[in-house]
Every structure is written in structure tokens, then in C-alpha cells.
């Protein structure tokens, strides 16, 4: 038998049928649902008189529109009537179709990509989809996970399958170890800086190498989360003992009678020796430094000790034009050292960086320090109700509050500003989220992507600073 990549194994174990032209019908094990991309899909089902194929394959939770301020009154506390309707519509659809849902007041509610792994609802070897591009996150579990549009949400609900063509396989190997203080976020931003936001288009990316296997599962979730920012719908990491330990005992994990059989299967979820990839990229992890984006695309990224690049040095005219437009939007001059850039707000949260290890890393920096007076707001938004409870049990909430951060309720929050948390025009934010697009965090807002430790350090200094240099 020929050597297979992890992608081959995940793909082949889910093919229901293949057409002569290579179009396949693949089976979906887990469908995660949130309020923004599902209402039109449920409406489509209703209009066609269809029912969900297998309700237990679905798990829903509202995350994009939920307020992060006091909300013990539930959905009625959502001030914006359109946002409220969207959350109410999810509740109604889940009730009427029998879809399991963690509603707004459920302690398990949170960002769908934090909730899935936390519950053991996304398991090694699964196909996982959601009407959300950051579904690539779940690849960290050794799953084939990717984002879909609303038509496909309806298709999965109705048939438990998707019509797909197999992607090409890419391996990105990051040799390690990385330097102390360099996180999964820095690794993935460095990868995107290297291959660009379209570098992974048409590929499924397997991340490998010592720098990746050294990461915790939460670090791998951060890494795979941003595979889509490199253009790849899916990014994943082979299963190892860390993966198996992480899953054990979670509510949706296999029961005792199935556990050994499941683990035996999961141990095969890696690329075979000698497996061939369509493309292989090797990075030296030891040279990666903390990363900060300077522009309006995640590929516009430099190390903290560098300066804002100059479009005049770019040979490609289209690219240079994009850089000039980005500098204008960001209100930055070429040549400015990154550490000179002053900030208005800081956001620690999102499906990229809102898990307990992220909060611990930020709290370690915040402990015994104060948010700079020039910072208007520094938000900490845990990824789920359970992350919040864990952080509070460890006293992290008090560390943040004493340092001058705001401690909030779980949700997507200022990552995309669909709720009330947003930047005002011209405001500059150090953010642990995943996209620095124009207007992403509020119209006219300026986003710089960083790791949780770097965001906390920026909050304390009032400007970007290498976290290692903080007094």
C-alpha cells in the first residue's frame, strides 16, 4: 500500500461516492452552527419541506451578536433589535428542528470554535464544518475541518454531506524549537508573511515539525485557526499523545467502551513515512520573533524589532499600490519602528486567542502592572463560559481588573464588531484576533494582529513593545 498523507486518510474515510470527473460526495461528522450564517439555511429547509438528516451531528451556539457586558437577562439584553432577532431566530430554529444548542445563558455558550474542542464535540478523524471560515481551527484535533457558505449549511443539514473536490496537499514544516516567548500566533503570522494570504489557496495544509509538535493543543488551535488567512480552507496537525490526552474525559468524547477502539484509530492519523505532498515548505522556527501586522491584510506583517515597510522597495506595482493604500488607511509612515506605534485600544479574545492558556499568558504580563493611561480601553473576552469560569477559579479576572483591563462575558466581540464592542474611526487597536481588514473591528478602525502576551504588553506600555523588554 502506498504511503498516504494525513489529508488522504481523512478524505478517503469520508467519501460516500465519486463522480467520473472527480467531484465527490463526502460525509460530515460534525456541523457547528451559529446565528449569522444559519437563518437562511433553516428557512431553505422549511420552504422545501426538508428535515435535518441527523440532528445529533449538529451543535449550535450564538456567538457573533451576543453582548459581552452584563447579560443575565438573556436575549432581551441585546439592545440592537436586528442582532436580537438573529439570536432569537437561532433559538427558534434549533427548538423547532431539534438541534442541540448552548443558548446565551448556558454556561457552555461561547465562540463556536472554542466550544467544539472544549466539549470534545470535535474529535480526531472527523470532518467538521461550520458556516464560518475559521472552522479550520478544529484541524488542530487531527480533523478535516473547513468553513462553508450558507447554501452548504443547508446542504449539510439536509443531507449530512457536501459536494467537494479534493484539494492539493501542502506540508508546512516548522523546525524548532522556537525561542522563549514565541507563540503559536507568532508562528502562524510568520507563515502567512512568508506564503501570503493566497499562498494556501487550493491546498489543505498539514502543519508539522518540532515547532508544531511542541505546541499545546490550544496552541495548535490558534495555528490552524489562521490557516484560512493563508488561503487554505483546511489546516491540520497529526494526532499525538497530546491530542488524545486533551480529548479524554470531555463531555462528547467517546465513552469508556469505545475509548480504546477510538484511540487505536486516532493513532493512525498522521502522514505515513514517505508520503508525497503537492508542495512542501520548510521554515526555521528558531528565527521567528514576536510578530505584529502593520497593514490591512494578515500577510502585511513584520517582527516587533522591525519597521513599517516602504512600498518604494516593492518591485511588483500592484503589490506596492496595495501597500500604499494600506499605509494610508492605517495612518502610518513607512520606516516607523513598530515599537513607536501608539495604541488606543487593546482586544484580547476571538476564536484565535481566547482560551485559558491565552488568558494565562496575557495575565502573566498584566500581573502587577497597569494599563497605560493613554489606552482608552483594554478588553479581555474569554472564548466560552467555561473558559471564563476556569479563569475566575485561577484568579485571572482579578489580575486583569486590577491592571485596568475590562473582564467581559464570552463571545466574538471586537474581532468583527457585530455586537456593541467596536473601534471608532481612526482608532488603533492591538488585537489578538485574526483579521486586520479595513473596517473589520469598526468602520475606519485600525487593527494590528498580535499574540495575547504582546497585546497585554502593548496595553501596559501604550505602544507595541517586545514583551521580553517590559520592565
Amino acid at each position: 500500500m502506498s504511503a498516504k498523507t494525513l489529508y488522504d486518510k481523512l478524505w478517503e474515510s469520508h467519501v460516500v461516492r465519486t463522480d467520473e470527473n472527480g467531484t465527490a460526495l463526502i460525509y460530515i461528522d460534525r456541523h457547528l452552527v451559529h446565528e449569522v450564517t444559519s437563518p437562511q439555511a433553516f428557512e431553505g429547509l422549511r420552504l422545501a419541506g426538508r428535515k435535518p438528516w441527523r440532528v445529533s451531528a449538529n451543535l449550535a451556539t450564538p456567538d457573533h451578536n451576543v453582548p459581552t457586558t452584563e447579560r443575565s437577562g438573556g436575549v432581551s439584553t441585546i439592545v440592537d433589535p436586528i442582532s436580537r432577532t438573529q439570536v432569537e431566530t437561532l433559538d427558534e430554529n434549533c427548538n423547532s428542528f431539534g438541534i442541540p444548542e448552548f443558548k446565551m445563558l448556558d454556561p457552555r455558550q461561547g465562540i463556536v470554535h472554542v466550544v467544539g474542542p472544549e466539549q470534545g464535540a470535535t474529535l480526531p478523524g472527523m470532518t467538521v464544518v461550520c458556516g464560518d471560515s475559521h472552522t479550520s481551527t478544529h484541524g488542530a484535533m487531527g480533523a478535516l475541518a473547513f468553513g462553508i457558505g450558507t447554501s452548504e449549511v443547508e446542504h449539510v443539514l439536509a443531507t449530512q454531506c457536501l459536494i467537494q473536490k479534493k484539494s492539493k496537499a501542502m506540508q508546512i514544516r516548522v523546525d524548532g524549537p522556537v525561542a522563549p516567548g514565541v507563540t503559536a500566533k507568532d508562528i502562524v503570522l510568520a507563515i502567512i508573511g512568508e506564503i501570503g494570504t493566497a499562498g494556501g489557496t487550493g491546498y489543505a495544509i498539514e502543519f508539522a515539525g518540532q515547532a508544531i509538535s511542541d505546541l499545546s493543543i490550544e496552541g495548535r488551535l490558534t495555528l490552524c485557526n489562521m490557516a484560512i488567512e493563508a488561503g487554505a480552507r483546511a489546516g491540520f496537525v497529526a494526532v499525538d499523545e497530546k491530542t488524545i490526552d486533551y480529548v479524554k474525559g470531555r463531555p462528547y468524547a467517546p465513552s469508556d467502551e469505545n475509548w480504546e477502539q477510538a484511540v487505536a484509530n486516532w493513532r493512525t492519523l498522521h502522514s505515513d513515512e514517505g508520503a508525497e505532498f503537492d508542495k512542501v515548505l520548510v521554515l526555521d522556527g528558531s528565527v521567528i520573533k514576536p510578530q505584529v501586522t502593520w497593514g490591512t491584510s494578515p500577510e502585511m506583517v513584520v517582527s516587533i524589532d522591525q519597521s513599517v515597510p516602504d512600498p518604494a522597495g516593492e518591485a511588483d506595482d500592484v503589490k506596492a499600490g496595495g501597500m500604499r493604500r494600506a499605509l494610508e488607511y492605517m495612518g502610518l509612515e513607512a520606516g516607523t519602528p513598530m515599537e513607536m506605534i501608539r495604541l488606543d485600544r487593546v482586544f484580547i479574545g476571538s476564536c484565535t486567542n481566547s482560551r485559558i492558556e491565552d488568558l494565562r499568558a496575557a495575565a502573566e504580563v498584566a500581573k502587577g502592572r497597569r494599563v497605560a493611561d493613554s489606552i482608552k480601553q483594554a478588553l479581555v473576552v474569554p472564548g466560552s463560559g467555561l473558559v471564563k469560569a476556569q479563569a475566575e477559579a485561577e484568579g485571572l479576572d482579578e489580575v486583569f481588573i486590577e491592571a485596568g483591563f475590562e473582564w467581559r462575558e464570552p463571545g466574538c466581540s471586537m474581532c468583527l464588531a457585530m455586537n456593541a464592542d467596536r473601534l471608532q474611526p481612526g482608532e488603533r487597536c492591538a488585537s489578538t484576533s485574526n483579521r486586520n481588514f479595513e473596517g473589520r473591528q469598526g468602520q475606519g478602525g485600525r487593527t494590528h494582529l498580535v499574540s495575547p502576551a504582546m497585546a497585554a504588553a502593548a496595553a501596559v506600555a501604550g505602544h507595541f513593545i517586545d514583551v521580553g523588554k517590559l520592565d
Partner: protein
């Protein structure tokens, strides 16, 4: 879905690469629970000078005269010409809904983001990949006094310019078939219910932990 038929339309040149779906349709408009009515907010932040919110009367908002969609030459455009990696970012299908609702049926670019590319076909929009050189040439013609018009023939897989020159393009045969016939994917998949059930039964015995 409507059948995709041959048509001739004006080309609107949007000279930017990496246009993301947040730019195509900003997040505040994603709160709708409908799939129509997004056209007036297509490229909202570039198209208008004020800050757009759902429920505004868009006909009374100040237009950005420098944005290409507001150029008198390109009014009624059915074809969007743009640069590489169009549609990157969020998976929101509101992006093709907005493009379609505005009246655009074809997007031409050197490359597209995967999820967006896929979403287009589900909504009767044909994304066409042409090489950089051809895209550059179309940009230069479409900047002329007189807007460029192209005829799009999906059956024959080519574009024609007014002078008779034709530009061939590639398209996946399955997607072409679905577009030409206005076929609904779910209906097609449900023709294979037997295969899905057989797979499911096998999988249930091989990997029961996925079915609890």
C-alpha cells in the same frame, strides 16, 4: 436558481487585489435573516461617504465619487473585473448575495479565495479565472472613455469582445452543468440517499464514537 444564459454586459474594473468579503459586504449587514436586499450595501464602506447601517435609505446617502461603482460609465455593469485573491476572508455567503443582488453575474480575476469561489456557483454567479496578462489587458481597455462590454458564453466557455476577439476560460464540468441548468445541489445529492445511508451504516459500525 435561474439558468445561466449567454449575455452581453458592461465590465466594471475594480483595481485592487485581496478584496475581502468584509469589504464586499460589511458585518453590520450580516444581521439580516433574509438572503435578498444586500445589493445597495455592496462595497458599502468604499461606495458611500457616510457610515452605513441596516435600515438606512441608501438612495439618500452621499456617494463616494472616486469609487469605481459610482462612475457613470459603469452603471448597470453585469461583470466585475478585479485582481488576485478576490473574496478572501470570511465565508459569508452574503458576499455573493450582495454581488448578485446588485446585478453582477460574472467576476473575472487572476485568482479567487476558495470558499467565495464555491459560494458564487451556489448563487448563479460565474467566477472566471484568467491569467494576469489577460486581466491586465482587460483593465487597460476598461479604463477607456467608452466602457468595455463583454459577451459571456458559458456553454462555449469563452468571452467575446465587441471586435470579435474571443478569450477562452476553464470551468469545472459539474459546476458548469449546474449553472447552465439552474440545478439545486441538495436535490442532486438526495438522488444518492442510498449511498449516504450505506456509508452511514458502515461508519456506524467502524467508528461508533462519532454517532453518540
Amino acid at each position: 436558481m435561474e439558468k445561466f444564459e449567454t449575455f452581453t454586459g458592461i465590465v466594471c474594473p475594480l483595481d485592487r487585489s485581496n478584496v475581502d468579503t468584509d469589504a464586499i459586504i460589511p458585518k453590520q449587514f450580516l444581521k439580516s435573516i433574509k438572503r435578498s436586499g444586500f445589493g445597495p450595501n455592496l462595497f458599502d464602506e468604499w461606495r458611500y461617504l457616510d457610515q452605513g447601517e441596516p435600515g438606512m435609505d441608501n438612495s439618500r446617502r452621499p456617494l463616494n465619487p472616486d469609487f469605481v461603482l459610482n462612475d457613470p460609465r459603469y452603471q448597470g455593469a453585469k461583470i466585475l473585473l478585479t485582481r488576485k485573491n478576490f473574496g478572501c476572508g470570511s465565508s459569508r455567503e452574503h458576499a455573493p448575495w450582495a454581488l448578485e443582488d446588485y446585478g453582477l453575474r460574472v467576476i473575472i480575476a487572476p485568482s479567487f479565495a476558495d470558499i467565495f469561489f464555491n459560494n458564487c456557483f451556489k448563487n448563479g454567479i460565474l467566477p472566471i479565472v484568467l491569467n494576469e496578462e489577460t486581466v491586465e489587458k482587460l483593465f487597460s481597455i476598461s479604463g477607456n472613455q467608452q466602457a468595455l462590454t463583454l459577451t459571456v458564453d458559458l456553454q462555449g466557455q469563452h468571452l467575446s469582445l465587441a471586435d470579435g476577439e474571443t478569450i477562452p476560460f476553464e470551468v469545472d464540468p459539474f459546476r458548469k452543468h449546474c449553472l447552465l441548468n439552474g440545478l439545486d445541489d441538495i436535490g442532486l445529492t438526495l438522488e444518492h440517499v442510498g449511498d449516504i445511508k450505506a456509508y452511514e451504516a458502515r461508519r456506524r459500525s467502524e467508528a461508533p464514537w462519532f454517532f453518540t
